[in-house]
Amino acid sequence: MATVPTSARVVVIGAGIVGNSLVHHLAKLGWTDIVQIDKGALPNPGGSTGHASNFIFPVDHSREITDLTLDSVKQYQEMGVFTQSGGIEVARTEERMEELRRRMSSAKAWGIESRMVTPAEVQELVPFLEPDQIVGGFYTPSVGVVDSLRAGTIMRERAMASGALTVVPTVEVTGLDVEEGAIRRVRTTGGDIEADTVVIACGVWSPKLAAMAGAHIPLTPAVHQMISVGPCPQLAEKEGEISFPIVRDMDTFCYERQHGADMEVGSYAHRPILHDAEEIPSIEAAKLSPTEMPFTSDDFDPQLEQAFELMPDLLGAEGAEIRYAINGLLSLTPDGAPILGETPEVKGLWSAAAVWIKEGPGVGRAVAEWMTDGLPEIDLSHSDIARFYPHQRTRKHIRERTSEAFNKTYGIVHPGEQYLSDRPQRLAPMYESQKALGAEFFEAAGWERPFWYESNQVLLEEYGDRVLPREHEWDSRWWSPIINAEHLAMRDRAGIVDLSAFAIFDVVGPGALDTVQRVCVAQCDVAVGRVVYTPVLDERGGFRSDLTVMRLAHDRFRVVTGGAHGMVDRKWFADRVPADGSAQVVDLTSAYTTIGLWGPRARDILGELTRDDISHQGFGFGTCRDIETDSMQVLASRISYVGELGWELHVPIEQGNKLWSMLHEAGSSYGAVPVGIGVYGTTGRIEKGYRAFGFELDSERTIVEAGMQRPKVKAADFVGREAYLKQRVEDPKTMLCTLTVEDHTSKSGMKRYMLGGEPILSASGGELLDDHGHRPYVTTAGSAPSLGKHVLLAYLPPQEARLGNELTVSYMEELYPVTVGSADATSLFDPSNERIRA
């Protein structure tokens, strides 16, 4: 058996599905001198992989997760460890049927073959299922099961065969040494390993390992209960591991999966049962494996009855006994997404954790690519470990959020649904005043952000049907027509928008200009007092972000970016400051609050508060400077994300409430209203065709595809420049378009409004495919109240990206006609931008 080497190019801790897949892909990408260790014995070291139910349903509402799953399935198939069984999600209620129709949308958008089936069809596929218990089902033939332990062995062996990998099992990590902010050494029970790249792929134990280095992997071990019942004669007579489709009984949050002569019943219905990584028993003390915790039968009893209702003849068969029952541990995260990437705390220390069997090999490949050249093929921005704010890494937050989300594993989750636990967290200085205005708060990066204000209810009368009311409960959940009323009032008069959730950081020092020039696509070598909106690219020319940069001094640039992505952006800049320390990134998020003032009366209102010249000539678009407002010094920046005349006003956070009040006082005689993020993030933005990172923009999209290319490219070098220059002369493979919905009437006569994620099809409902091989889907959907239309953004095949082209959108399994209104970044509203430049 191998002994622990004294040094390595990279140490991968963990030999579950993720660690095994990672060492394989690292070796494949040319890494050598890889050392993989695990405290357990091989091939099953005792983590969650060892007791996983090992089935894969490919359809998920998230594109990122679906792509990782599809890649994983390919890899499992190539290794010969995938058995296709088909899978059915069954509905016991009409509400669930609607959710299954929504899953059809995702299946179509991601190009996965699925279909709705009747109870009789379900029974044909699964003869022992009681059809009277269900209303219908969603059948995906490509569902299957894998042998994840065998896959792990194959991948390890491949890496060893190439000479790149040394595997040392039964060695436990006792410490991770960090020097000058970087990982240097892994201490183990078998000796120390010097390494400046270390990956924690330790599943439920990951937080404990990260803590050894002073880093955080914010996940919690949580129980998923599973029992195995058999031998069932109906299954025993069939050859092989699985011959019937897997059934997900969605309304009881349970699944039934054949495993040889047994039926495994798993549940996400029980109370959340959370553990701490430190309290997981050792291998020696565990009865089964450390992650197969003692079964708590009381928690499972209700599920037994529900499973029995669905399959009485099978589960009640003579001789069928509960032969195995565990509280299996798996990893849950506060937002449900995996935790991947280099830790923001420690250079060279990576996380590959909170990953399910269905994503394991795909994650292994993506993280290996990321470690190799920073460029995973699949966009991983929702899984980036850098996304967490400090409060999101605390035990309390993790436990409250995962407890809240656990029963939503099979739940019907509305795309706008908000978390309710561990709130409020971060409060804007004008929070109390917003509460008094009846703000409906949504959460972003922990900030409480007003989405709309009940105080604007009065506007509904003023605007009548122009607010595009929605009849259907689902379409109007987490939404209010007040959003559209606020929008119209802003366009008519003025709106005051709290933007405290912005992440703000300065890049300062003699090397600051070089840093921002290198990171940003747009020309940042501009006069002091200019504001620059810029994409940020990776080396491949995919989006890493889009943000604004204010040049405040020759050696000071202020970066303002969205809260949700702020931490990742900060790391992106901090990773790219010169090594000589000539530039620093200073986080000012908690130092400044930002209030937006926009609308045709914005200048009048601000004029009431300042003696400074804010005329168009005196304060041009795209400039910023300090102005005196009352006794406050306010950094005013004349830009707009809603397409109106106005300013972002930045003040020290302790003066935010004062400025907020003064704007309202000054604004009242001009009819200004408080305006929520419903307008700022959606309606105002999409009328102007503005793209949003995480929706239209991600690392798989380019500036050209997004229709955002400018006539010139700056001469200075920047990350992604070469790729971008190439993209500019090539034909785009897909083009971001704005579409308008022409008729909302469903078969039932009720008008329906898409919410995002729906597939775009040809006029006759045929499938479309862009030159990447992707199917078009709605990246953002929302009202455009000034146009009286519902607007959709979607990347279309270039040949379909024609003004006036008539297509359809599929929503809840019905087709609605849409028309291409813009095939580039030209906005549907005020296309010549007269309002902004007023």
Binding site: A285, P294, D301
Partner: protein, 257 residues
């Protein structure tokens, strides 16, 4: 028709490594599940079988806190039809206390018209290993007792108990009823619960009893962990050459035939 009473005790479900509580007086069961001793599992299996074979009923009894209801329900799920919990802190009771408390319940039930013709126990509990309760119970009830047998059946009103003899042969005892028998694992394969069994068990009301005396305790001062046994590793071979040895071993263990 034989009415069987089977007595069980909730104990920690141990892995390979055992740790003690800080005061050294008991096994640390934090993070552990709970079960009944393997000998008691065999006793429950025999109780259910005897009851079924004779058209009688199997009642399960434990002395313990509310947590021990879990073990009663598990026995009900297997086929016991009634359950009694003597409400007491098991760790504060010595074997004499437990025997006395069970005897009180048996007598009380008898006075109420329910006779337990056969009382089955495990030969000892895995956490204390006293080997006393069965014998003390028989003494208290003035019944015949045999201990440490592997199988029990009732034939023509007589209890037939079989166990291993010291010389490798077997011993067979016949006892008149009512009788007490303590069981060791190995003679029967305990069943697992079925789903319908589990659902039925949920609906059974657990009868409660209270001990009518103060416990004397066990007199135990503290536990001590023995030195771990040296682990012995035999390498059967490497690569395909090891296959024959592995097959031999599997056959010896009864994994394959």
């Amino acid at each position: 028709m034989t009415n069987v009473l089977v007595c069980i005790k909730r104990v920690p479900d141990l892995g390979g490594e055992i740790s003690l509580t800080a005061d050294g007086r008991s096994v640390d069961d934090s993070g552990l599940g709970h079960t009944i001793s393997a000998h008691e599992e065999a006793a429950v299996e025999l109780a259910i079988t005897v009851a079924k074979d004779t058209g009688g009923e199997a009642t399960v009894l434990t002395l313990g806190s509310d947590d021990a209801v879990e073990q009663l329900r598990n026995a009900l799920a297997l086929g016991c039809t009634a359950a009694i919990r003597i409400d007491a802190d098991a760790s504060a009771q010595g074997p004499a206390d437990v025997a006395r408390a069970i005897a009180d319940v048996v007598r009380e039930r008898e006075a109420g018209g329910t006779t337990y013709d056969l009382v089955l126990l495990g030969s000892d509990a895995s956490d204390t290993g006293d080997f006393q309760v069965g014998i003390r119970l028989a003494y208290a009830l003035d019944r015949p007792v045999v201990t440490a047998v592997s199988t029990v059946s009732v034939q023509d009103g007589t209890v037939v108990a079989r166990g291993a003899a010291p010389d490798g042969g077997s011993e067979v005892y016949e006892l008149p009823m009512p009788a007490v028998v303590t069981v060791m694992e190995g003679g029967v394969e305990p069943r697992y619960p079925s789903i319908p069994g589990r659902m039925k068990a949920k609906k059974v009301a657990i009868e409660e009893a209270a001990p009518g005396f103060g416990a004397a305790g066990s007199g135990r001062l503290r536990l001590r962990l023995p030195e771990p046994a040296p682990s012995q590793v035999t390498i059967l071979g490497e690569g395909p050459q090891a296959a024959a040895a592995v097959v031999d071993l599997f056959e010896k263990l009864g994994v394959t035939r």
